[in-house]
Amino acid sequence: MTNKKNKLLSPCIRINNLTKYFGKSVAVKNISLDIYKDEFFAILGPSGCGKTTLLRLIAGLEVQETGEIYISNTDYSNSPPNIRPVNMVFQSYALFPHMTVRKNIEFGLKIDGLNKKIIESKVTEVLHLVKMYDHIDKYPNQLSGGQKQRVALARAITKNPDVILLDEPLSALDANLRREMQIELSNLQKSLGITFVLVTHDQDEALSIASRIAVMNEGEIVEVSSPDEIYESPKDIFTAKFIGKINILEGKIKKIDDTFVYETIDYGLINIPTNKNNPNSFTIGIRPEKISVRKTCSSKQDDISVKGEIIEWNYYGNINYLIVKTSNNSDLYVHMQNKTKSSIKDLKKEPFIWLTFNVKDLMIIKKNTTQRT
């Protein structure tokens, strides 16, 4: 759901009915998309969904079959990459191996024909910004993965483009460094005020740094929303399943006196809030962390409790990933925080446990989309 304030702004990138084939297979299927100024926009999808192709189309590194690309209100649909006001950070960094860090960054500025003093000051400034000034005279093969990443980023920033495109920039870094870089990327985007478009297959990455996310599957955009909308109330079953673990509650919809009721075997009748524009055919799901594990049944209003037996423990220190078999033989994923030192030991003693969740935490998801997994 794009907020209204954004809609009034003119989009930084406007994509109209973009289609790209590779041979007979379609990589990008009739995509239309607006990306606004100063956004940190993420394109999220499984590998092979066409997200990188979409990014390369924006950069001009691929040529589309049909459709238009506008960047800052100018039609760049048929322009070569060297005249588009976008710069890309490649997955493999693509630093020039025979040039030092300084030369790598100067490259784009020299093409613009700037004078030496301006180039010098710009290079210094941008290298301080990404904290790589100490490595200015090193060659790329003398740098670590994270350092190469910073240089690649600096090289893209230094030309001060309208948009910076990032193609899975953090996928080659180890988990800790990735987290660190995510925060830095996000801060950098805010301080620079340049539109960032990030392509990633990492849900956490998209959720944590993007201001808006487009979920892609099989060449199409499934849903565009803010991170919390996408996680908490996805409109599409593919989004719901891709963005995190989800328990789908099997059941049927019934309409009693203008209110929808979801009839399940395990959890009885569930009243669906009517204030939402519920699609005609929907399914109901709940995220694993919204379910709490208790020793007793909850009697609070709007709470649903179900008895179950833990059949699988996955201990991760701060969190437990559990699979619980309910009395009606359906499995539920449950994420349980280890709030006390003894929480596992206590739980393991119990022969069975009660799972409790609130009706408000249920997600209503459109069902009639094509079968996807």
Binding site: I83, F90, A94, G108, I111
Partner: protein, 280 residues
């Protein structure tokens, strides 16, 4: 304390270099391979008209060779041919390699295979073919340098440029195309991409392949023999004609000079090809 045990050194399964009999065998092969060449070089300093018995050290045959006008002329011809054919075959080869790397066209694989023909075809056939060709087109006889050498130059280009193509093509195959995309993304035109990305990347291969073309041209005897006239012979052809009147140390001296030029060029090629590895 760890008690000192006597270390038994055993060879690992892949440490062939440590096997003694293999070492001796290798040395034997080296001797067989290089003895004639070393012999040739040593006897170029022999103070005897007949090259059979060692009669003492002298460099007078080098001076004699340097004062042999036809020998010097043939040496000058050899160098001219090598320089000119190297420049032209490098330029053609570079263009062909870039073309093969950049573009896809019909029958490309067959074209690439056809490049091998000048390499695999027997030199004698190539020589005869060249002879017949220049006769049938009535190639004019020039008297001014370097046009008097045009037939040999053309023949040399035809067999040396495929080597240039193959070496540069192989190097280009290693060029990460993302680098080209990145430079275009940063605003580079085709020319800037070539000048700052592609050319620096292939430079070692370019120099190595042109040195190879130079050596091939300098060394060639058979094809040159068929395409040279009486007034434009090269050093190898001259040496051959001298041998027919008996082997004198002068020939040894001339051959030694040729060998030294070739060895220096080869060392340069090897160094430059190793330089490629450092860049990665």
């Amino acid at each position: 304390m760890i008690t000192k045990k006597k270390l038994i050194t055993r060879n690992g399964p892949l440490e062939y270099a440590k096997i003694k009999w293999l070492k001796y065998l290798a040395i034997l092969f080296f001797i067989i391979l290089y003895a004639p060449i070393i012999n040739l070089i040593i006897f170029s300093f022999n103070d005897s008209k007949l090259n059979i018995v060692w009669r003492g050290f002298t460099v007078k045959y080098y001076f004699k060779a340097l004062h042999n006008e036809t020998l010097i002329l043939s040496f000058f011809n050899s160098l001219s041919i090598a320089f000119i054919s190297t420049i032209i075959s490098t330029l053609i080869g570079l263009s062909a390699a870039i073309c093969l790397w950049k573009f896809n066209f019909r029958l490309k694989t067959y074209y690439e295979l056809s490049l091998l023909v000048p390499i695999i075809i027997p030199e004698i056939c190539m020589g005869v073919a060249m002879l017949i060709f220049f006769n049938s087109v009535n190639w004019p006889t020039f008297t001014i340098w370097p046009l008097n050498l045009s037939e040999i130059i053309i023949a040399h280009i035809s067999f040396s440029f495929p080597f240039v193509v193959i070496i540069i093509r192989a190097r280009l195959g290693n060029l990460n195309k993302v680098l080209i995309e990145a430079s275009k993304d940063l605003g580079a035109t085709e020319w800037i991409v070539f000048k700052y990305i592609t050319f620096p990347f292939i430079k070692p291969a370019l120099i190595a392949s042109s040195l190879l073309a130079f050596i091939l041209s300098l060394d060639d005897f058979i094809i040159t023999f068929f395409t040279s006239g009486p007034n434009n012979i090269t050093l190898p052809v001259k040496i051959y004609s001298m041998v027919r009147f008996g082997v004198s140390p002068e020939i040894n001296a001339a051959s030694t000079i040729l060998i030294i030029i070739v060895i220096i060029s080869t060392i340069l090629i090897v160094k430059l090809l190793n330089y490629e590895k450092d860049l990665k």
